[in-house]
Symmetry: C3
Subunit: 447 residues, 3 copies
Amino acid sequence: MTQLRKLTAAGAIGSAVLLAAGPALAQVDPETKFALDTFSFLICGALVMWMAAGFAMLESGLVRTKNTASICLKNIALYSIAGICYYVVGYNLMYAGVDGGYIGSLSIFYDASDAELALIGGDGEQLQGVIDNGYSVMSDWFFQMVFVATAASIVSGTLAERIRVWPFLIFVVVLSAVIYPIQGSWVWGGGWLSEMGFSDFAGSTLVHSTGGWAALTGAIILGARKGKYGPEGRVNPMPGAILPLATLGTFVLWLGWFGFNGGSQLALGSAADAANMAIVFANTNMAAAAGVVVAMLLTQFIYRKIDLTMALNGAIAGLVAITANPDVPAVWWAMLVGGVGGALVVFAVPLIDKLKIDDVVGAISAHLVAGIWGTFAVAFEDGNFVEQITGIIAIGLFVSITSAIVWLVLKFTIGIRVSEEEEELGLDRAELGMEAYPEFGTGSGRL
Amino acid sequence: MTQLRKLTAAGAIGSAVLLAAGPALAQVDPETKFALDTFSFLICGALVMWMAAGFAMLESGLVRTKNTASICLKNIALYSIAGICYYVVGYNLMYAGVDGGYIGSLSIFYDASDAELALIGGDGEQLQGVIDNGYSVMSDWFFQMVFVATAASIVSGTLAERIRVWPFLIFVVVLSAVIYPIQGSWVWGGGWLSEMGFSDFAGSTLVHSTGGWAALTGAIILGARKGKYGPEGRVNPMPGAILPLATLGTFVLWLGWFGFNGGSQLALGSAADAANMAIVFANTNMAAAAGVVVAMLLTQFIYRKIDLTMALNGAIAGLVAITANPDVPAVWWAMLVGGVGGALVVFAVPLIDKLKIDDVVGAISAHLVAGIWGTFAVAFEDGNFVEQITGIIAIGLFVSITSAIVWLVLKFTIGIRVSEEEEELGLDRAELGMEAYPEFGTGSGRL
Amino acid sequence: MTQLRKLTAAGAIGSAVLLAAGPALAQVDPETKFALDTFSFLICGALVMWMAAGFAMLESGLVRTKNTASICLKNIALYSIAGICYYVVGYNLMYAGVDGGYIGSLSIFYDASDAELALIGGDGEQLQGVIDNGYSVMSDWFFQMVFVATAASIVSGTLAERIRVWPFLIFVVVLSAVIYPIQGSWVWGGGWLSEMGFSDFAGSTLVHSTGGWAALTGAIILGARKGKYGPEGRVNPMPGAILPLATLGTFVLWLGWFGFNGGSQLALGSAADAANMAIVFANTNMAAAAGVVVAMLLTQFIYRKIDLTMALNGAIAGLVAITANPDVPAVWWAMLVGGVGGALVVFAVPLIDKLKIDDVVGAISAHLVAGIWGTFAVAFEDGNFVEQITGIIAIGLFVSITSAIVWLVLKFTIGIRVSEEEEELGLDRAELGMEAYPEFGTGSGRL
């Protein structure tokens, strides 16, 4: 059950069904289908764009006050940069002429087709040519573009509170222009992994693990925050400054995920597509719900206290886990997949701390660990264990190695880390010359 | 004008109109209608899910800092739990085989139909069977599910700052698995109240008053916060900690309400349905606007100061009031209904305080009082005064009695209230072992 | 390429194309098109409503703590009032019978058409009459209404921290009932400017510059905040109190802008409309992205620090700039337009400070300056330089003069400014009798 995200005709399910159904039934006419599929891409894409706000709020809530303006800036900057890079080279590298291979074509810019522009300009003879594409090309571009930013957002959270802003943004350029599109071409672009039978519906591996691997290599190369790990394995808590914003961010991500997974149906204009999209919405919601409940119960049993940030990460882990296969037929299976995701995050967070890998917001646990699990779990339904494991490993190796190279080059050229004094002072004052909460009597003196 | 929320064919309005219009006109073909109705459920349902974030922000803004993490946790947990309960038993209890009676069927799980799964799997012969249902079953489930969480959210605000987290969540289980579905079956499931002629378009009574009755009985049984009511009828203000978040929450609820009321049209795929949905959007907006303006003017005249939290509650009361009948033909009528809602909240809040019923966020006034008013106001248009009053009383009694039983059982078994010391310390430290704003120099010492 | 925002038939592009395409192709049937166009108005309108929350958060984040509750109140109140005024007289003044002239008709209320109400009531013979309108009239009203609030929101930010609440709201009444609709009638209502050939797709001038001119005249007549401008041209910074909320507000605006520009396509139900809407979404996003990146780079080069608030305003300026022409064929052109907008804001903010015009949030730079630029930039594509400049000047003069009259009348009757003591104390305590952050140890004593 391979799935190409860029369809050339009429949607993954719709076309096959229409053929099978024959001409006896009323069908969605092609122009209506074009409008529906395009609108679905646009609305779902807007919801995914909204996830950028979710990451910004989640990370703002979980860093300390002295680094808050800095994390806000990184989030709006990375979303902007990711889009630009994807327009300039990323999309073509991911989708143009991959054809079973390892990379798309290196051509710049991606704009509306000539046929579309002619039709918009009033040339009615172009209608058939436009409709044959199945949806507007820019709606597809928009939808794919917002996914790149999600991958980049994962990195910013893990590396918060000590990475310098410009080196981070340079990494985002490489990630969104080169690393993400190349691995994406292997599956959604129709490359070798999709040919082999690897399946990842909306990106447990392609988006979330990719962001997670980039974050993990970055965290190792960048090192932990000063004072995070004490002697004798002690882990010093550095609690988030404003937890309602972290909660808001999680709700924003949850809402955006309906677009992330639902829009990845890639079509709306047939009964089969619409029905499957509805299954995706329901499963996405319930996987997250199960992630929350499992994380709550586990923290209650293990620590005798419910941990709010763990519950929030449980929601995210549940969402990440179901992303590879959100159209399973039964909701209880989605809840199982999401619930295991929530459990994994409860155990992964202290484990990663034990390894002295400093992940400020728990993104490696929620996106990488749960992403691997979710991708693997596809095989329980599809039976493609070897293919899923191959894809997890191949993309993991590719993203880790290329990310490590970029991080190391940055480290030994312009440097990636603020000085100890700047870290102590806080990135907001050091790099931005401002405070996020100037009237509230907080700042570097407190923590 | 009874309304069953679960339709078996082609939408409340569309089918009748199509029949009446005859075959001479071009009509929306059934598969297109299926896609449109399904998409409308999904997008509107996502907007209603977003209201969970609105309640979380509203309540985070209106509680004190020492109880903020706790209210965040309760909100994300109750949304998760409500969905799970509604999947496991709630939906079937509300919609399966009610048939004029008092309850649906007790069967577990609700998943996609076999015909849908077959069609999605490529069996084109199932197309007709799927289309005959009118919309995807999971899109309907998703839309109905998010309403349960709204009812539960109302309870969390009223009881904040002193209820223990686990007993509260157990109440949510009973509310969303049993209490809400049973009373819902009486109207939207096609039970006795709908047969009689009771009308509640999107849930002034079924959702908002239900949540309000559950909150009211809980507040009475739980008791007021320590120090809230002094001697000689004195009411000590305990102002909300961060009012921009309360404002944000209100805006989130307002946005979500377009899905709440608009999606309750239950269909989009006919001119009549689309036109009525547009009326619903406009009226919903203007009832809220009127609620804000009336609450502002009244607080200015009565107290010589405009009260921001009253203006916010005025918006919510306006929204609640119009929810029973948002498709009235003239916007000025919707403004009247919403404006009265805004006025009621200004008078109900101090009245409820006078009764020493401690409602932290004013939810009883905004949801229960305005919900009763809105449900009653339907009769000015429909003339069904007896039926509306019957429904208000029947559901009020049922929810109050069952809720009281659950609260009392919880109170005399595991207990529902934190200790005085824990209340003084704040629920965040007592139950979660964390602070919502650890760097800001706030906490139990201040208020 | 004039554009009337209120169409009488089947959408700007769709109808022409359908005629040109002839009967050989499958076409969207009229009732499906009606449902699609209506739904597009509703969903896009809801996104624009959401921008009201964006302005509320942006301004909450950028004012000082002592004026935060006040700015929250102004924002929810202005949104409410703008809608009411637009319902009572604004819409008719803007759209009814303008016919090449300078003003619409002065008739009160705007409600659903008789044909729509009859169809909804079950009169199938009205179907053709409803469909001939092309979309539901209330969906169009809803979409146009939310634009008025946007114009009013711009004013509240500039004048924050010293204007009294009731005079401000009276200005909002005049702006949304009279000033905005009259200038709007000149273009979108089919008045003299549209006849001449002035083009403004979604309102760089009609919405954003209009708000900006009203804010500018208000700022001049109201005067600067006490202490803002010292001797010898010194500008005292008065930094925003809570920058994550300002960041959130910007993201909210960005999301809402997809509805603002995308919905201004005014139709979805043809391939040409859907394809053009997709171009609008992509360009809108990329103009904002370019605005962010340019503002970041410029502040880094000029000040050696990246300024977060400038980056946020860069996003807004990019969005404002592309709003006049978001359907340019190539994304790189949208990025150029947006990038110039981002640059303009970096230079305009200190310049406006040099003129001692006190704009608390930078709204004049982001909305007026970038709005003029974006409107002018249309001419690079359309060649209508004279027409664009005429429109910019005509609307600028009209809005400035009428706004100045209103501000001056208010100033010399009820007064528009709080006393020095009240300004020192903060508007929250002075006018609302409350604090936005009562537990956080902030307030008038600090700044």
